[in-house]
Every structure is written in C-alpha cells, then in structure tokens.
C-alpha cells in the first residue's frame, strides 16, 4: 500500500535544476536508502517533501493528501518527521525537555501555557529506546555528537510520524556508535516507514535492503543493494569521479 507518492517532481534554483522530473513511491513499512554523489539532490528531495523547499512542478501525495503548498509544521502534523545532516537539538534545554517538547506538539496552545507537573509520559520510554536515560536531566548542549543524533531520533519518534526521513544519521560517528545506530534503525523500521540518506558504503552493506540512487537530480536506478551495486551506471557515477565517502 502506497504511503508516499511523488510524481514528476522538479525543483529549480534559478538556472540550476536540483530535481529533474522525479517519480518515487514508498510503501508502508519500507526501509529505503537514498544514495548518490554530492549534489545529486538527496537533501533537496527531503527538503521538498517536508515543505522546506517549494516544488517548481509536480506533486507530492502523502497518505492520500497533497503536500505541495503546506507549511512545515502542517506536514509534520500530517505525519512526516525528519532529521538534519548537522544535528540540531536545543542545547539550552535538558535532554528530557527536548523529547518532551517534541512529544507535546499536539497539545492545544492553552495546554502549553500550563506548568507541567510531570514530563510527557512517553519520555522515559523513548530515552530508554535510544539509550539516553542516564542523561535525562543533562543539558542537550553537553551531549556528544552521537548522543545528539540519538536524541534527534528520540524526538522524531516522540512525534509518532508515519514516515521518518533521516539525513545522514551516522555521519561523523565512531564505529561503535554506527553499529548502535544501525541496530536502532532496524528496530524502528520494524514498525515505521523510514528513508535514510547515507554515504557510508559499509553501513549500507550492513543495513540497507532497498536502495534508490540519485544522480544529477534524476533517479538513476532502484532495487535491492546487490542489484544496485552491480549496476554499471552506478559504478560509473561513483568511480568516474572522486570517491564521495564523506562530506566536509
């Protein structure tokens, strides 16, 4: 059953075409990896789905509703959550408050104005899931890079999205942190639809099932990891230029 349906999506910035007639569908419960060299349009695609960038033409349908002209917070409320390449948690709030804030967005405005006696009931459980329980009352600004990414994932889960879009969740992580994140992802994917942008080939090999390759704003190919890896066009795209394992 289709959850997200993108038809003929084009995004241009002035003379530059970032996305060029993209068609893409995602089914319920899928774990999809999105790869491609720098400038392929991966982040632009996520930005466009989440309302950060406006499509020049084409339609995005989520769960039967068109998202084209909705603003970011409406799209979140419709059930799409995302993270960013550089993690942005609220450094001056505690870890628990970060998650609590993410979990409370469905409260009515006047409910927000009340002084909370206890944090949102789901907070301890969510922190447990991402392994941040010992840091519950620490300021988010004191977390390490990996911990911040996990906090972001916890905040994302707190929103109960139907679709999670993760932009390079393991970039800059240590090997141990990657493993932990990978396992976390697998668990999450069991009951969510997840799209992951990732460069790290090793990580892909370990956790990816379905992979979509973007190149210069177009979809180059799509399939399971082995098929994609053996596609000569993909090899050319990646080998024909400098390897793009990491970004600055």
């Amino acid at each position: 059953m289709t959850l997200l349906d993108i038809r003929d999506l084009t995004v241009t910035f002035g003379a530059f075409t970032a996305l060029d007639h993209i068609d893409l569908t995602l089914d319920h419960g899928e774990l999809r990896f999105l790869i491609g060299p720098n400038g392929a349009g991966k982040t632009t695609l996520i930005d466009t789905i989440t309302g950060r960038t406006r499509p020049t033409s084409g339609t995005i349908t989520f769960n039967g509703h068109t998202l084209n002209k909705r603003s970011e917070h409406h799209i979140v409320r419709a059930g799409i959550g995302r993270t960013f390449q550089t993690s942005v948690v609220f450094e001056h709030l505690t870890v628990a408050d970060n998650v609590d804030l993410a979990a409370s967005f469905r409260l009515r405005p006047w409910q927000l104005l009340r002084r909370p006696r206890t944090p949102h009931p789901e907070v301890p459980d969510l922190l447990e899931r991402v392994g941040l329980t010992p840091h519950t009352h620490a300021l988010a600004g004191t977390l390490s890079h990996g911990q911040r990414q996990w906090l972001e994932i916890a905040m994302l889960l707190a929103q109960h999205p139907r679709l999670l879009l993760l932009d390079e969740p393991v970039a800059g992580m240590s090997a141990a942190e990657r493993t932990r994140t990978g396992e976390l992802l697998t668990r999450i994917a069991a009951d969510h639809t997840v799209v992951v942008i990732e460069h790290d080939m090793d990580f892909l090999r370990r956790y990816a099932r379905q992979v979509t390759v973007l190149h210069e704003g177009r979809i180059l190919t799509h399939g399971d990891l082995a098929t994609v890896q053996n596609d000569p066009r993909v090899q050319e795209v990646y080998l024909g230029r400098t390897p793009q394992e990491t970004r600055p």
Binding site: T43, F84, P248
Partner: protein
C-alpha cells in the same frame, strides 16, 4: 505623473545620500551580518575630517573636500578595522549583541566629538562651484552639491563592483561570504578578509560623512540622523546585494520625495515606513536574496 517627473531629481538626490550612507553597511551588515550601530558615528568622523582639514589645517574648501575623501576613508576604515579586531570578531554569530555593543561605542564616539569640537555644529564651507545650481528648461533645478553627491555615490558603486568582481581580494571576499568554511579550507585567510571587509565598509562611512557636510549640519549627532534609514535600505535591498542596495536607496529616495510633495515631510516618513512593512510582506528577504541551506 507630472509630480513624479518633477520630484525625480530630488528623489535621486535623497537616494544618493541614502546610498552613500548605506554602501558601507552593505559590507559590514550585508556581507558580514554585523550590525554596527557606530556606523553613524563613523559617518560623523568623516564629516569632522573635512572640518579639521579646513579649519585646523587651513586648506581652502575645494582642496579640503578633495583631500578629505581619501583621508576620511582611511581614518574611519582604520577605526572600523580596530573595532573589528578588538571587539566585533569575538561576536560573530551574535549579531544582536554586536548591535548593542556598537551602540555603546557610538555613544562614546559621540561624546568624544562633543568634547573635542564642542556641542554646536561647525561650519564646513562648500567649495564655491558646489554652492550653486542650474535650472533646466522644464524649470527643474539641479543643485550642484546634489550632482556631486550623486556622482560620488556612483563612483563608489562602480569602484566597489570593480573590487568585488575584478580583483583577487574582491573575489576572495565574495568566496568567504558565499561559503566561509569552504573558502577557509581552500587556503583563503578568512580573518584577513573579514578585517578588509570591515575596513572598506567603515571607510565608506567616512566618505559619506565628507559628502554630507555639503548638504547638512556637521555636528556630533550627524550620523545618528541617517543610521535608521541607511539600515532600512540594506534590509530592503537584500543582505549583501550591491544591486539591491543601489535600487533600494533610489526607490526609497524617490518614494520619499514623491510622498513629501504629496503630503508633508512628517507624513512622508510614515508612509515610507508603512510601505517598507508592506514590502517585507511580499519579499521578506529583500529585493535580491541569496539562497542558503543553513538552518537557523
């Protein structure tokens, strides 16, 4: 329509003054995001440079005007450079703190001017050839001092455009603005570029100050009178866009002149403010925008 044509020279003249005052901000605010509230006081320092050359060094009005332009540029540029070096560079990324900080600096500079030159306005006589005007056939009067300021503003714009696009340093500056980290790893000394940007931006304030002595009072609060409008010009033009600043300055100038002809100067200012709010509804980022992916 007729009124508009009549008001065009005045509008251009007001626009040229705004442009001169705002050009420096285009560097410090537009390119670097630093709100330097002491910019107005730099303008004042430029004006007093012209005064000192005339009254203390005894140059005649023409020579003191000509000599004051480069001298004021260097002087206020150096002041700006020192300010950047001593204070502002520690506050990049905190524009609002910089704003308050430089307001304090401005207060000090203003009082210093009052103590050095006295509270009353001083006389900076314009050269004889600038105090006259020419009447065009249509009855439109061209003030020579205004023409001079317009020409000076255009020369500055061309010089800046040349610097940014045709010189090595200028290209480096644009590279730093476009992507600071990338420029840094490509071997550009971003600290040096910041300092240069601030030097030029502040120096332009000095040039504006010299020009303003031709049409207004020279006193300790000279710069403060222009600063609010000058910032609005940069906001409307779009941060860091030279084209935008030029267009916005003249648009505001003409709007002001037309509104003034239609009502009076007080209401004209209000109308202009309302127009700015309305404009920002349509173009919150100003006339010309730089797309960025940065998350704020």
């Amino acid at each position: 329509m007729d009124a508009l044509v009549n008001q065009l020279p005045t509008g251009l003249a007001i626009g040229a003054v705004l442009l001169l005052a705002a050009l420096g901000l285009n560097f410090t605010f537009g390119q670097m995001g630093v709100i330097n509230m002491a910019h107005g006081e730099f303008i004042m320092v430029g004006a007093y440079t012209a005064y000192v050359l005339h009254a203390w060094a005894g140059l005649d009005p023409t020579w003191s005007l000509i000599a004051a332009l480069p001298l004021a540029f260097t002087l206020t540029g150096t002041l700006g450079w020192l300010l950047e070096l001593g204070l502002i560079r520690h506050f990049y990324g905190r524009p609002l703190d910089t704003l308050l900080l430089t307001f304090g600096i401005g207060m000090i500079l203003q009082q210093a001017a009052r103590d050095t030159f006295g509270a009353p306005n001083v006389d900076v006589p314009a050269p004889g050839w600038l105090t006259d005007g020419t009447t065009l056939p249509g009855g439109i009067r061209l003030h020579h001092s205004r023409l001079f300021i317009l020409a000076l503003a255009l020369v500055c714009v061309l010089a800046i455009a040349h610097y940014l696009h045709r010189t090595h340093q200028g290209r480096q500056m644009r590279a730093v603005i476009h992507n600071r980290d990338l420029a840094g790893v490509s071997g550009i000394n971003t600290r040096k570029v910041d300092a240069t940007t601030f030097f030029i931006g502040s120096g332009l304030a000095g040039v504006a100050g010299v020009a303003l002595t031709l049409i207004g009072p020279t006193g300790p609060t000279l710069g403060a009178n222009y600063i609010v409008d000058a910032f609005l010009v940069v906001v409307i033009g779009g941060l860091g866009r030279l084209r935008g600043t030029v267009l916005a300055a003249f648009a505001l100038g003409i709007l002001n002149a037309t509104a003034q002809a239609w009502t009076d100067a007080s209401l004209a200012k209000l109308l202009v403010f309302a127009a700015i709010i309305a404009f920002l509804q349509a173009r919150p980022q100003g006339l010309f925008t730089v797309k960025t992916r940065a998350l704020t």
